[in-house]
């Protein structure tokens, strides 16, 4: 571990936490523009977090320690996930803490805790949300794993940094398997981050909500942590997508001179990706909850096809 690597690891860990609400603000602003509304300030998510942190937390009578403990676990999981994904450079000493399979596991731990916390209160909505979250998660997780296997097959490794370095160095060409994996990843991103075809985080409509039903009983600092964690989750998914499918411009290990260019590239990619997500949400309609398994199964199918095509074309 070099000193520069350790310093960069520290900077990235803090940067992802600080920048995640800004990304959410940007997506919300784009969505507002597309809906012909005047957009809230890009800093609105920060203001909301500040407001929530200054309030007193109200806890339901029947809650156990799980309910109070869960927000910290969720925040920690998302922070760890976002910290080990190569955002600007691939020289991340802590990235050995988890490979792509463990990364899926980290997301799963957060999902288990948010579902447990939702069921802990004992309200009907919490249980309903937890069951739906588990339904979507149980189907989205294998799809995400297969997407990662696709990339592991190309780079012969499950380590995040090795995958990104291999993909960044690969010669330019048409790779159908990667395209399939990218589309599958986008579908998983929509399903896992409670985005519109699957879930609409902007409404509190009883029959359709998934993410909002889970966190209905939370308030103040707990709610702030969970909202912040979901912002970091979105950021982490964006970072994974950019690092794996559009890795050009990322600074490779030891090459710190490329960092300014990498910053410009990542910011540009995030801005475009955020606007793209907002556009996707604006043009698609939310589907019925019982259609979601089909949606996620399609993602699984695409990822598996990518894997099989990889096997056929590279032989």
């Amino acid at each position: 571990m070099t000193a520069a690597g350790a310093l960069y690891q520290l900077v990235q860990s803090l940067l992802v936490v600080a920048a995640a609400p800004l990304l959410v603000g940007w997506v919300n602003a784009c969505r507002a523009w597309l809906q012909n509304r005047s957009a809230p300030s890009l800093l609105q998510p920060y203001r909301m977090l500040r407001k929530l942190f200054h309030k007193d937390a109200a806890l339901a009578e029947n809650t156990s320690w799980v309910f109070r403990f869960a927000p910290y676990v969720i925040f920690g999981c998302m922070w760890l996930a976002a910290a080990i994904v190569p955002v600007l450079a691939t020289d991340l000493p802590f990235a050995t803490a988890a490979d792509v399979i463990a990364l899926v596991g980290i997301f799963a731990v957060a999902r288990v805790f948010i579902s447990l916390a939702a069921m802990d209160v004992g309200t009907a909505f919490g249980t309903l949300g937890a069951r739906r979250e588990m339904l979507i998660g149980a189907l989205a997780e294998p799809a995400l794993l297969i997407v990662f296997f696709n990339l592991s097959l190309i780079s012969q490794s499950t380590s995040l940094t090795t995958i990104v370095e291999t993909l960044a160095r690969r010669e330019f060409g048409l790779y159908p398997s990667l395209a399939f994996a990218a589309v599958a990843f986008l579908m998983v991103l929509l399903a896992e981050n409670a985005r519109i075809p699957v879930d609409n985080p902007a409404t509190h409509l009883e029959l359709t909500m998934v993410h909002e039903a889970l966190i209905l009983e939370y308030s103040a600092r707990h709610l702030a942590l969970i909202e912040w964690a979901s912002a970091i989750k979105l950021f982490a998914y964006f970072a994974i997508g950019i690092a794996f499918f559009l890795p050009w411009g990322i600074a490779e290990a030891g090459d710190w001179g490329a960092l300014p260019l990498a910053i410009v590239a990542v910011v540009a990619k995030l801005v475009v990706a955020g606007a793209g997500l907002a556009l996707l949400e604006a043009v698609s309609a939310k589907m019925r909850i019982f259609r979601v398994p089909e949606f996620v199964a399609t993602a699984f199918m695409l990822a598996t096809l990518g894997l099989l095509l990889q096997y056929v074309f590279e032989v």
């Binding site: 048409l174 398994p293 089909e294 199918m301 096809l305 096997y311 056929v312 074309f313």
Partner: protein, 218 residues
């Protein structure tokens, strides 16, 4: 890998994707559109193979495919569903995820089946034989899972597309006479199916092929 080889691989992948899309498509109108797209991809891949191998008669085959499978057959099918008044018909497909999983199993089977042959072949198109086989099997699966006569026929036509793709990728196309013969067969076949549709509907008052099971003499 050469650019044409990469292009053929991409087109083959799209063909496989369309086969899966047909498997899970509920609307008959969209099925016909998908069938037309399959024709577009098929003729494009024929042109790429013709260009990269310098086989002049493959250009003719590509033009024939484009004319017949992108314009004529979809138009006939469209007219048919219009006349039968089933344009907005939506089929009740049970459990699409399961059908997709069976489809993935079929793809794995097809790839394994084609692998020894591909390993021996030296052509640019060698890796596409498995995909062509998979398209044929997926079209089979579609014919089995569908109940409406029109979608069964589209499944049959999609299977023929897969076979043609297999022929193009494995042996750089069939002899011209065979190709013309198949094209004519498919065209005539579609006309006959069209007449069948009206007969089926007249006899059973619906286009559901399950009713055909009653057609036995006791």
């Amino acid at each position: 890998m050469s650019l044409s080889g990469q292009l053929i691989n991409v087109l083959a992948a799209i063909l496989l994707l369309i086969a899966f899309a047909m498997l899970s498509q509920r609307r008959i109108l969209s099925l016909i559109e998908l069938y037309a797209w399959q024709g577009v991809v098929l003729s494009a891949s024929t042109f790429v193979v013709a260009y990269s191998t310098g086989q002049g008669d493959l250009y003719f085959s590509g033009v024939l495919t484009a004319l017949l499978k992108v314009i004529v057959l979809p138009w006939i099918l469209y007219r048919l569903i219009h006349r039968l008044n089933v344009r907005w018909d939506v089929e009740t497909l049970i459990n699409i995820p399961t059908i997709m999983l069976i489809g993935i199993a079929l793809v794995i089977f097809a790839f394994n089946l084609a692998q020894p042959i591909s390993a021996m072949a030296g052509a640019v198109t060698r890796s596409t034989l498995g995909i062509a086989t998979a398209c044929v099997l997926l079209a089979f699966l579609m014919m089995i899972t569908r109940r409406k006569a029109v979608s069964v026929v589209i499944g049959f036509l999609a299977m023929e597309n897969g076979l043609l793709f297999a022929a193009t990728s494995a042996t750089y196309g069939m002899p011209m006479v065979v190709e013309l013969g198949i094209a004519l067969d498919v065209l005539v076949g579609t006309f006959i199916f069209g007449i069948f549709f009206f007969h089926i509907r007249e006899t059973f008052d619906s286009l559901d092929v399950r009713h055909m099971e009653k057609l036995k003499e006791d």
